[in-house]
């Protein structure tokens, strides 16, 4: 196990201020980067093998190389709208080490020649936004943001934009629309943001963790960074662990480590020695895995081979005492609430699924509804404008596939419960009628 990169000394008091950050050698990687040629810098990023940490796992170097050259205004946008349930790693980075993010962002901006840049932070992170805002102001005061930074001739502007509570704004094109002051509806792709993004200019969008990792790449060099982790999954990854777990929190791990090591080794497993029923490997929108999959290596390819996705790297552990119907209910409720409503399968499919799970809880569903539910999930996946619909359909589909018995048992139990209740009500009403007639 290597040292921590992103979390290096992150609990150091005052690290969120520029003085402490500078004292630790902050912004030296930026100065090094500014001396490099743009093309070399992008090659360096490509060579590092760093894949986007937001969920899609797209290599950052490739993404940066898609940004066209030319005189048009280009943008780098940092996606700090971390709203995937179970994910809270970016929050820790922003709150404790904002300058690392700013440094990484400016390096990326220099790499693609973007002079106007934004960090879009979710509206709920009020304290974090204030800390980040203060950090940006400090950097601006020190000339790290502004005209001709470090005498390189490169000028850069950075603004913080706040969201206002919409999960869909974490989708990159939804975020761009939100940043343009519109409803945060995802856009049709193509054109991709790299060609036509913010204000129709070429835009590089990356997640906080991805950008925060850039200074380490410059420090270690592409090869040094690529050496960490496993093939096609380079570097360290922040893992947020939550749910039924002894020690919830963020852990920085080297990609490729076994999942069991993270869940049991680092986070202590479920409390009171309970067994794991299922776990989400990458946030609530990834298909669930079961206790049988605990020995899967925690990296992009292994998790995918196991039938799920690394996503945002947020592990939610569900122990044996929890009901899968309740889990499906929460999932469907969340996604139907957060669907932007632009495309039909997602808007109607999420709401329909929610109503179906609701009926299971009410005791008015039949096992046939499970087939309909599974079929509906299949018709959502791949048919939507963005991946929000898939984000509900995949975990719910996997829950039905893996825990069908439990669903059926609960349907049966709830039906019986409902019938018992109705019979009791009926009996009570009859007694009353008899009383009246008597």
């Amino acid at each position: 196990m290597t040292d921590t990169l992103l979390f290096k000394g992150i609990d150091e008091p005052g690290l969120n201020t520029i003085d402490v950050y500078l004292a630790r050698g902050g912004y030296t990687q930026l100065q090094r980067a500014l001396k490099m040629k743009r093309g070399d810098l992008i090659t360096e990023l490509t060579g590092s093998g760093l894949r986007g940490r937001g969920g899609a796992g797209f290599p950052i170097g490739k993404k940066a190389s898609f940004i066209p050259k030319g005189d048009m205004q280009k943008y780098v946008v940092c996606n700090a709208d971390e709203s995937e349930p179970g994910t809270f790693k970016d929050r820790e980075l922003i709150q404790k080490n904002p300058h690392q993010l700013i440094e990484g962002l400016i390096i990326a901006a220099f790499a693609v020649d973007a002079t106007i840049n934004y960090i879009y932070i979710r509206g709920e992170y009020e304290q974090q936004a204030d800390i980040l805002d203060a950090a940006i102001s400090e950097a601006r005061d020190r000339g790290i943001i502004g005209e001709n930074i470090f005498g390189s001739g490169f000028s850069v502007e950075l603004e913080l934009a706040r969201g206002a509570g919409a999960y869909i704004c974490g989708e990159e094109t939804g975020l761009l629309d939100s940043l343009e002051g519109k409803r945060g509806n995802p856009r049709l792709k193509p054109p991709f943001p790299a060609n036509e993004g913010l204000f129709n200019g070429p835009t590089l969008i990356n997640n906080v963790e991805t950008l925060s990792a850039i200074p380490s790449i410059i420090e270690l060099g592409a090869e040094g960074y690529a050496a960490i982790g496993v093939k096609d999954s380079a570097g360290t990854k922040l893992v947020s662990i939550s749910g039924n777990i002894e020690r919830p929190g963020n852990y920085e791990v080297e990609l490729g480590i076994s999942s069991r090591e993270i869940i049991y080794g680092l986070a202590g497993g479920p409390p009171d020695g309970r067994k794991i029923k299922c776990w989400f490997p990458g946030g609530s929108s990834t298909p669930v895995l079961t206790a049988d999959d605990l020995d899967v290596g925690y990296d992009y390819d292994s998790i995918e081979a196991a039938g799920s996705m690394l996503g945002s790297g947020a592990i939610i552990v569900v122990d044996e005492t929890q009901s899968v119907v309740e889990l499906a209910y929460k999932l469907a409720k969340f996604y139907s609430h957060e669907s932007c409503g632009k495309c039909t399968p997602c808007r109607e499919g999420t709401r329909w699924t929610f109503h179906m799970v609701e009926r299971i809880k009410e005791g008015t569903a039949t096992p046939m509804d499970l087939d309909i539910m599974a079929a509906v999930q299949e018709q959502i996946i791949g048919h939507c404008l963005c991946v929000l619909g898939d984000a509900m359909a995949m975990p719910i589909g996997s829950l039905i596939a893996k825990f069908r018995d439990e669903f059926e048992a609960e349907i049966e139990a709830n039906r019986n419960e409902r019938e018992r209740k109705l019979a009791a009500e009926f009996a009570a009403a009859e007694v009353e009628i008899e009383g009246i007639s008597a």
Partner: protein, 210 residues
């Protein structure tokens, strides 16, 4: 005709949607861009919006900051406030309302100024968020100053179950602490200082080793 039925019964859905039954008031004038000459805007609201406009190359980008400013001014996104913001931005109030209603944090009705969001998403609900919300509702439900609501994932699953009190994250909250927290919210005190997220160290043991 023997018995003319005047009202035709309709059955309604469980989730009625605010606004769906709203007709236009035909007496009103169309809501075009409010004329700057005849719309009075409070000074601080204007200043806040104009400051936001300066930060973006396109004025529309200032919609969200402008709505925050309106909410700060009036406690909610009142039609009056939206019209004023629209006059400053030179856009129709409808364009602003469309954006405001899209986001969860903009209130379209006058509610308590103290907003308390309780995360009820998966991670939190696995460890008892619904009970926490119910307990807080019991304590604070009646308070007109407090806008208490269950909220979708607030991004603090490590301190589940948790709440955000005017942006200050606290957790994990035990049910026994609810009366104390409710009291602090009512008084406007710092909520559960010891359990605020901002003071929580990183969970990764490697960080502590360094």
């Amino acid at each position: 005709m023997a018995d003319v039925q005047r009202h035709v019964a309709r059955f309604t859905h469980g989730s009625r949607i605010p606004g769906w039954d709203r007709a236009a008031d035909l007496e009103k004038e169309p809501a075009v861009v409010p004329d700057a000459a005849t719309t009075e805007v409070p000074g601080e609201l204007r200043a806040a919006i104009e400051d936001a406009v300066r930060r973006f190359p396109v004025g529309d980008s200032a919609f969200i900051p402008a709505l925050y400013a309106v909410q700060a001014q009036y406690g909610w996104c009142s039609p009056e406030g939206i019209e004023q913001a629209a006059a400053v931005l030179g856009r129709t109030p409808a364009a602003l309302t469309a954006v405001a209603t899209f986001y969860d944090m903009f209130e379209m009705e006058p509610l308590g100024r103290k907003s308390v969001y309780v995360c009820t998403n998966i991670s939190c609900s696995l460890v008892g968020a619904d009970q926490l919300l119910a307990a807080l509702e019991e304590e604070l439900g009646e308070d007109p100053d407090v806008n208490l609501r269950g909220f979708e994932c607030l991004g603090a699953c490590d301190i589940a179950p948790m709440a955000s009190v005017d942006g200050v994250y606290v957790g994990p909250i035990e049910l026994g602490e609810v009366p104390e927290l409710a009291n602090q919210i009512r008084q406007g005190d710092d909520p559960l200082p010891a359990k605020q997220l901002i003071r929580r160290p990183c969970a990764d043991p490697k960080v502590a080793e360094q």
